[in-house]
Each structure stands twice: as structure tokens, then as C-alpha cells.
């Protein structure tokens, strides 16, 4: 049996979405900006897709939703553009991000920091949440931008973007949110909150890879990151990814529909699965369920290094994830577990299970079974979760 529980990394393309995309590879392959039938015949589908994408985040027509190649591009675009137009010109000198942003935000912020911009990295609290008041405290009259994600990829924690948006609006500071992990998991409306820029990506909600988007509020125009043939109204040059846009349109429509139907089921399955996992002794979950996206569990198994758990899961055909030392190439502990800072011993023990609307009860039952066996085997091997002979002081010395 193969079970995919790594849906926060990427998702499978919904077969309905794939069907919608198919004609735009071999039959209708025209460049939409050319002047002939091959071009014009793709326009209706593009228009419909754009309408669906706008509807997916409840964006009014006068605002812009610019199609990009991925969320990384969208995030880079916002930060670098603000750097060029606000920081480099000397108007402002400061931006604020959270310390658990996606690397495409953190690495970009660090880059502009190296160019002389001040950057505040907001901490998360013991529940893995950002506190809106911390944003208020960090804002100065030289702050150009606040960038805080809508939902965290590791824990699923939903950050108080509405309050943060209000605080930014109050201080006249631009607000960007990376909503990659929010679309299709929690309602996202750019009219319900104060937000100037919002990033999302199709492959996180059963759309194709290679299609992202950036919502730009009217009057908050950005300098383009890509110069060229002035596609996307000059905002983002490059031949339009027609099948990708069509796929994203269908995928976001399906994902938003699923909020009312499949997502409550996913939440229920997730909760039951989590309850069962927590019955295993010495297991810990950080963020309370009602403050998380409905599909995500980040759980620590004391005494078991994350990659070892992934190894046993993978041997049984189960895909999950960890940000812990050994699985990632940078040898760092899980960033969120570290940021919470509650218990160092747990930093390398976190495993993330992320469900989707395709996850079945049978798959979760099987996974639970495998997890229990893996816990037994790996705690048997573990030197930190085991018997020590009488008189032996468990004096683990740090070798670092």
C-alpha cells in the first residue's frame, strides 16, 4: 500500500483539472498575445480561468492577480520590488517578517538585509503562533513592509492575518501574506482583511506545478521583477502558461468548493488520526487543533529521530515529512520546533502528516499501524529512550 501524507509539500493534480488542461498542449497551443485564430481560440478559456482565480480569493476586478511561475517567484517579487522602490531610494529602511516564513521569504529578506535594509524577524509563541501585537511593537515610521504567512507549512498554524492587516493599515505599512498553505484549507478573501499582496500556488491545491500567483491591490503597484514582452499588463513578462493558468483556475474552484464539503471530512479524519497517535506515550503536538489548518499534524515522538521515523514509514510505502537534521541537507533542527524552544530534546523528533481530500480512512488506519510498529522498533534502538543499567548515570554529555 502506498499512502501520501505529504500534501503540504505538494498535491496530486485533480483528474478533473488535468482534463481541463489537456486541450491546451496539443490542440490549442497558440500564444495568446499573437494576432491569429490560434491565439484567439485560447482566450475564452484563459478568461474563464482568470475569473475563477479572482473568485477563489474574492478579488475585485480592479485589483490584479498576476500569474507567476510559483510562490517563490511571487514572494521574491514583493520583497525585492519593495526593496528597489522603498528601501534603495531611502524612503524607508525596515521590513518585518516572521521567523517561520517559507525560505523564499526568509532568504530574500536576508539578501536585502545584506544590502542594508533592517529586518525584524518576529518570534512565534509556545503554541507556534505569531502575535499581532508583536507586529505593532516592531513597526517604526521607516517600516516599508510586513510579510507574515497566512498559515504555516510545518504546523498548519493559522496566523492572525486580519489583525496584522489592520495594524499595518493603521500605520500606513504595506502588508504581504504568503497564503500558499491557506487556499482550500481555510477561507481566504482579500476583501475580508486588509491586505496589499497575497501569494499562492496551484500545486498546493491539486493544480499543476509551475503556476503561482500574486494578488496586488489597486494602488499598490509593484515594479516588475521580469522585464520583457509586457505580458500580464507589463507586471510580469513571459509567454503566458496557458495550460497552467487553465489548471489553476479549475483547481482553485474545486478547492474552494471543497471547503464546505470535503474539508470538514478531512478535519474529522485528521482529528481521529491525531487522537490515535497521541495515545502512543510520549507524543506531543504543538499548535491547538482549532488554530490550525484542517489537514496538518506536526507531532513529536520522544526518543525517535525524525529521519529514522521517515525511513520506517517509507519502507511501508508511507510519505510524510520532517524538517529535522538528517532529512534536510542543511542539518538543521525543525525550524518551528526550534523556534518554539520549549524542549530541545524534541527538536529532532517532529514528523508532519498532511492530509488531502483524497486521503482515505483505510490509509490512515494502515498508517497508524505502521507508526505504532515503527515507534516500538525505533524506541527499542534509541539510546535516549531506553533502559540504563543500575548505577549508570544517564549523563548525556553534549559533544558540541
Amino acid at each position: 500500500m502506498r499512502v501520501y501524507l505529504d500534501n503540504n509539500a505538494t498535491t496530486k493534480v485533480d483528474p478533473v483539472v488535468f482534463e481541463e488542461m489537456k486541450p491546451y498542449f496539443v490542440e490549442k497551443y497558440g500564444n495568446p498575445n499573437s494576432l491569429h485564430q490560434f491565439a484567439s481560440e485560447v482566450h475564452p478559456a484563459l478568461k474563464t480561468a482568470m475569473q475563477k482565480i479572482y473568485a477563489g480569493i474574492n478579488a475585485p476586478k480592479e485589483d490584479s492577480v498576476v500569474i507567476t511561475s510559483c510562490a517563490t517567484e511571487s514572494n521574491n517579487w514583493v520583497l525585492k520590488s519593495i526593496y528597489f522602490s522603498e528601501i534603495l531610494t531611502g524612503k524607508k529602511n525596515h521590513i518585518i517578517i516572521s521567523e517561520v516564513e517559507h525560505p523564499s521569504v526568509i532568504a530574500t529578506a536576508m539578501w536585502i538585509e545584506s544590502m542594508g535594509c533592517k529586518v525584524t524577524y518576529l518570534p512565534i509563541n509556545s503554541e507556534g503562533l505569531i502575535e499581532a501585537e508583536d507586529v505593532r511593537k516592531a513597526i517604526t515610521d521607516k517600516t516599508a513592509l510586513v510579510s507574515v504567512m497566512w498559515a504555516n507549512n510545518e504546523t498548519g498554524a493559522i496566523f492572525p492575518v486580519a489583525e496584522i492587516g489592520d495594524i499595518c493599515a493603521e500605520h500606513g505599512v504595506l502588508f504581504h501574506t504568503d497564503a500558499v498553505q491557506a487556499i482550500g484549507k481555510t477561507p481566504v478573501s482579500v476583501q475580508a482583511i486588509n491586505v496589499d499582496y497575497l501569494t499562492f500556488s496551484a500545486h498546493k491545491f491539486h493544480g499543476p506545478k509551475g503556476v503561482g500567483a500574486l494578488y496586488i491591490k489597486k494602488g499598490r503597484e509593484l515594479l516588475p521583477l521580469f522585464h520583457g514582452g509586457s505580458q500580464m499588463g507589463g507586471y510580469r513578462s513571459g509567454t503566458l502558461n496557458v495550460p497552467g493558468i487553465v489548471g489553476m483556475g479549475k483547481a482553485i474552484e474545486q478547492a474552494v468548493d471543497a471547503l464546505d464539503f470535503e474539508m470538514p471530512e478531512v478535519r474529522e479524519m485528521r482529528d481521529d488520526f491525531e487522537d490515535a497517535l497521541l495515545e502512543i506515550p510520549d507524543t506531543f503536538v504543538v499548535t491547538p487543533r482549532n488554530k490550525r489548518t484542517p489537514n496538518t499534524i506536526l507531532i513529536s515522538f520522544r526518543g525517535i529521530e525524525g529521519e529514522s521515523m521517515l525511513w520506517d514509514l517509507n519502507n511501508a510505502g508511507i510519505a510524510a515529512s520532517t524538517g529535522s537534521a538528517c532529512a534536510s541537507e542543511d542539518l538543521e533542527a525543525n525550524s518551528v520546533m526550534e523556534a518554539i524552544g520549549a524542549d530541545d530534546d524534541l527538536a529532532h523528533t517532529a514528523i508532519r502528516f498532511s492530509l488531502s481530500r483524497y486521503t482515505t480512512q483505510e490509509e490512515l488506519d494502515y498508517t497508524l499501524d505502521v507508526v505504532k510498529k515503527a515507534v516500538e522498533r525505533l524506541r527499542g534502538i534509541s539510546s535516549t529512550y531506553s533502559y540504563a543499567p543500575e548505577g549508570h548515570v544517564n549523563g548525556l554529555e553534549a559533544h558540541h
Binding site: E305, W311, C326, L331, S383, L396, A398, H399, H400
Partner: protein, 323 residues
């Protein structure tokens, strides 16, 4: 870069079959109890190394025959990733039948080599080399316990890169002999810094007493001190060997002391733009300021005077080029 580095891969694909098998079924995993050790007429040694918060921890059990110092049985437990478990298992295996003194000589490289499928193909990817280091450290800890001595007493010299086991003295020698200036060069020459990268600079997986960047700094400072000494002694060779900053300072001083006054009297001045080595010659690029900039003599008499003073004071190969 190149094709192989562009799309990356899963590190698990780089594990040898032996590593995979040992992770799935470690042979020497487990404990030795006091009773079991007694039955063998052996002394039980239990040594811990590492910590959960670092991501790796290992416990080594030895039953040692006190008469012969031979390790009769060797077992391990480990909190760590697949390679940490496989390395610990291999380490425990290698200890068996050896005397404590022999076991201390087992290195992480021995452990890694024992896990290879093919003699020339590494058993684990570079960033996993540090996992085998812990296996090596815990042996020393166990041996120290058995002998009742300090763990450090087994270390003959300071190791800077533990993954490749490169010592401080080797690194210093190689840097000096080859006039190395970058970490990449050190890695090319010694393999130090090629694996977990902790030894390159602070902020890596492990905290170190000394990093490769420190050694480069040290060498750079040494070179500068040498150049400064030489320039203080005023020899011709010294100017050539100075750093660019020192050269500019030296030229500036000569200009201030011997030339500027002469130019200012005529309502002019000059500035130094750049200094470049051009084969044998050292070209000093200058710009005239004030009255000098339009003066006919600035490209003839005045120029020769400036050049001659600099040649005399600093280096006969100096040429002065006004721009």
C-alpha cells in the same frame, strides 16, 4: 554546479546497501546487563555520547575481559538517523575481539569504509559523514572509562575537521606551503570541510574551537605582518610585497612628505587613483588637481620629478601615469 547538482536528489539514494540493511536490521543493537557481563567474567562499560538536542546520541556497551583487556561483547543503542544507527552498529561490530587499546585506534573513516559496498564508493553522502564521527567518539569515551583516564588523553593532536580527520598541524602546513586563501582550496587539498561543513565557520551543526576561516585569517594576518615588517625596514623588495592598501599608504606618505608641497606652491595638487602591477613595472595612476591639471609641465618635468622621488623612496620599477 552542473546537471547533477541542479535538480538535487534524495540523500537516501546515496546510502550503500550495507547502510540500508543495517538500518533495517542492526546486528549489535541492544544492551549488555551487569549479569551478562558477570557471566562472561567481564567488566561492563556503558558510555554515552551526543545529545538528543543535537540530533544524535549513542550509547555503547562493552563487556571487557579485565585480564586481557579484550572486548568480548559490544552492543549499542542510538538516537539518530539511519546512518547514525548503521554507523553505531558497524562501530560495535569492529570493536568485538579487539583489545581496548586496539579499539581506540578505530576511526570514523574505518567505520565508513566498512559500510561501503564498493571499495571506492562512499557509503554515505558527504553531509552524513559526521554521523560516523560520533561512533568514533563514543569508543574513546568507553576506553577512557575503562582505563579511568580523561577522554582527551587518546587524542594525539587537535582535529579541526572531524569528518575527514584533518589535524590542525596538517592544515596549517598545507595552507602555508601552498599559499591557500580560500576554504574551497583547503577542501581541494585536504578534504577538510567537504562533509558536514561544521568546521568551515561558526554556525554549523557543531560548535568548534577553531574553524577553517580562522586559519585563513591567521595566515593572512601573518602575511600582512611580514609585509609590514619589510616595509618598515625600507627595502626595495618590501614595496612589491605590500598589500594594495599598504602600497597606497606608502605612496601617499611619500607624496605628502616630498611632493605635495611642491605642487601646492604652484596652486595645484594630485591624487592617487590606483596602483597596478604590470609585469616588472609598478604603475601608479594619478590625477592632477587644481592648476596642475592644465599645466604643460604636468606631463613632462613635474611628472619626471614625481616619478623619480617615488622610484627613489619606494621602488625603482615604479612608473607614474597621469590620467
Amino acid at each position: 554546479m552542473g546537471m547533477d547538482s541542479l535538480i538535487g536528489g534524495t540523500i537516501w539514494d546515496e546510502y550503500s546497501q550495507k547502510v540500508t540493511d543495517l538500518m533495517n536490521n542492526p546486528k549489535n543493537m541492544g544492551e549488555i546487563t551487569e549479569e551478562q557481563a558477570k557471566e562472561m567474567g567481564a567488566q561492563l562499560i556503558v558510555a554515552d555520547f551526543g545529545a538528543e538536542s543535537c540530533g544524535d546520541a549513542v550509547r555503547l556497551y562493552w563487556a571487557v575481559d579485565p585480564k586481557t583487556d579484550k572486548i568480548l561483547e559490544s552492543k549499542f543503542k542510538s538516537f539518530g538517523c539511519g546512518t547514525a544507527i548503521a554507523s553505531s552498529d558497524t562501530m560495535a561490530e569492529l570493536c568485538k575481539g579487539k583489545t581496548v587499546d586496539e579499539a581506540v585506534k578505530i576511526t570514523n573513516i574505518d567505520v565508513e569504509k566498512a559500510m561501503r559496498d564498493e571499495p571506492d564508493t562512499p557509503a554515505v553522502p558527504p553531509q552524513k559523514m559526521h554521523c560516523s564521527v560520533m561512533a568514533y567518539d563514543v569508543i574513546k569515551k568507553a576506553a577512557a572509562q575503562y582505563k579511568g583516564v580523561d577522554m582527551e588523553s587518546f587524542e594525539e593532536e587537535i582535529i579541526v575537521c572531524e569528518c575527514a580527520r584533518v589535524s590542525l598541524s596538517t592544515l596549517k602546513e598545507v595552507i602555508r606551503l601552498n599559499d591557500l586563501t580560500t576554504v574551497e582550496q583547503i577542501t581541494d587539498y585536504t578534504k577538510a570541510g567537504a562533509f558536514c561543513k561544521s568546521c568551515i565557520k561558526p554556525g554549523g551543526h557543531e560548535e568548534k574551537d577553531i574553524y577553517l576561516v580562522d586559519l585563513l585569517d591567521e595566515y593572512e594576518k601573518e602575511k600582512m605582518a611580514k609585509a609590514a615588517d619589510a616595509s618598515a625596514s625600507g627595502s626595495d623588495a618590501a614595496f612589491k610585497d605590500m598589500t594594495i592598501v599598504q602600497k597606497i599608504k606608502a605612496v601617499d606618505k611619500v607624496v605628502d612628505d616630498n611632493i605635495r608641497q611642491m605642487l601646492i606652491m604652484d596652486g595645484g595638487d594630485m591624487e592617487i587613483l590606483d596602483i597596478k602591477e604590470n609585469g616588472e613595472n609598478i604603475d601608479i595612476y594619478i590625477r592632477y588637481l587644481g592648476a596642475c591639471s592644465g599645466c604643460a609641465s604636468s606631463s613632462t618635468g613635474t611628472l619626471f620629478a614625481i616619478e623619480n622621488i617615488l622610484k627613489e623612496k619606494l621602488d625603482p620599477n615604479i612608473r607614474v601615469l597621469p590620467i
